[in-house]
């Protein structure tokens, strides 16, 4: 998504963190929750399987962790680059 002109290190680091977070975001919902469910159906979680758990509960919990992790990483990045408020 970024442009060539936007070469400052702070923005590049932000984009990198966003990409990593979005890969995990997609993996737990579209991945384990839907597309890879048949592959991990051997792992039982209380009366159903791992994919069902991710679709109905796990993905939401991971989303929460993702946002707070992002907020924390960005606060550190802001300070490292001297752009905090």
């Amino acid at each position: 998504m970024s442009d060539k002109q936007s070469s400052n290190a702070y923005w590049q680091a932000n984009i990198r963190i966003i990409w990593i977070c979005l890969v995990i975001w997609a993996l737990v919902s579209y991945g384990f929750g839907i597309l890879f469910r048949p592959m991990v159906s051997g792992i039982k979680v209380g009366g159903s399987d791992l994919g069902f758990w991710f679709a109905q509960q796990g993905s939401i919990l991971v989303f929460i962790v993702l946002i707070f992790t992002y907020a924390k990483l960005m606060n550190r990045l802001d300070r490292d680059h001297g752009v905090e408020e």
């Binding site: 970024s2 002109q5 936007s6 702070y10 923005w11 932000n14 209380g46 939401i60 752009v83 408020e85």
Partner: protein, 602 residues
Amino acid sequence: MDQFTLNLIFIGLSFALYFGIAIWARAGSTAEFYAANRGVHPVMNGMATAADWMSAASFISMAGLIAFTGYDNSTYLMGWTGGYVLLAMLLAPYLRKFGKFTVPEFIGDRFYSQTARIIGVICLLIISITYVIGQMEGVGITFARYLEVSKESGLWIGAAIVFVYAVLGGMKGVTYTQVAQYVVLIIAYTIPAIFISLALTGNFLPQMGLFGSHDASGMEFLTKLDQVVTDLGFKQYTAHNGSTLNMVMFTLALMIGTAGLPHVIIRFFTVPKVSDARSSAGWALVFIALLYTVAPAVGSMARMNLSTTMWPGADTGETYSQPAVSLEAIETSPELNWMRTWAKTGLLSWEDKNGDGLIQYYNDTATEGPAAEMAAAQGLQGNELTQVSNDIMVLANPEIANLPGWVIAIVAAGGLAAALSTAAGLLLAISGAVSHDLIKGALNPNISEKSELMAARISMAVSILVATLLGLNPPGFAAQTVALAFGLAASSIFPVLMMGIFSKRINKQGAIWGMIAGIASTLLYIFTYKGWFFIAGTNMLEDTAANWLFGIAPASFGVVGAGLNFLVAYLVSNVTEEPPVVVQELVESIRVPKGAGAATHH
């Protein structure tokens, strides 16, 4: 004390609380009216966002949608929460840094174009007005059920209440009212769920109970549920039965749509700092998750309760080990009083088709398997539980579980809190767009702050009136409008905001044509299958999977619209001139938290 008095007391108390807050938090300036003076603590803002976001659809309908479809409707759970990840990383912090009051204002400044701003206003109005009609209808129905007034009177009462606290308090009043409404609605949602989870699984936490064991049979709860529903001829609860493509597309449409809803985005303008906007999205999701992780438990347990009520033998042994519930029990038994109460609303009905004195609930379209064999053996002439509305699953829950009257009253107050808080948030977004973007931005830029505040209040009052009138005479599309609102938000607002932040090359021509391509394609696709402006009979193609383009359902098409928006904006921008330097500096400045002015970080 009878149930009606209890309902009146609880609903009355909750309204007294909202009014008290509205008077205490009156808005005195436009900064307070549009953005609560940017003084809202991120945790408080998270709570307000949760109430703003969770509408009558989340509170009343979602658990029922999951209950009757099972795994395939996990799309709502993932879709309506995953959008907050996108908000926290792709939109909220940068828009907070931009530091203005409305979404169209950002579009207008970033794309240096009054036309882009006006198109933004049009998108916002279409999205928010269609959404608010559904909320007003929800308010009317809830009042009608619990206060025993007509739906019309219920609607007017609801409109009057929103009028008082939203017009008076603006964003500041609404924010603190929403905090109170969140507390009311989450208590109302979880108390019955905890009791039901304890009764069925022995687990205090519904989230654990869902994956725990079923006490009466000793089996795992979900295994038992799968067995009961398949015995009755329905599809397996935990299995994936529908189209995988649509499941992915619909989830994505809900996620992108969530991140693009203007009334949710403006909530992040109220926090003091950029870093608060990031963490506030996390807090919002924590408070939303409290309901969203309970909802699948409520849905599955309500489905189990319904099935074992209709087939008493299913609870401890084989599904058909005892005869079905008798007509006499339904009409006289005190435990089944809820069936009689809800039959009055028309949301539940039964009919002893073969006259055997029993009411057999099963899937009469199944041609083989235990249900078909049972139906043949008992000489049935079709499913005898003729109507079970999705919405009953949450509203009747406390009655099904035989909980005391005050729990029923608090669920009524919770349902109203969910609908009213969302309606107020939507009305704020609408009035901001009209008074700030249309009146101050386009028609009369020299308007004084005092007059603008008055204009904001008048436009909100007019919006309430329009929403109420449309709620009284819904144009026949109330249930479908939510899909339209999400599709439009996904295909118009989200892409243009994201490109405005993450690309310096997208210019005004790109943004304008991108928005038009996104909205027009999505509207066209929805109208093709649902009828022009949802008027029945005007659809050009029948709304079935075989007719859909590449098998994409109309509700999922927002994703394709968003893709077109990105593509058109990119292509058009690349053949036209670069945005001016001052706009490129604006983009640089919103990307870093430091400083309030433009380009001060170098």
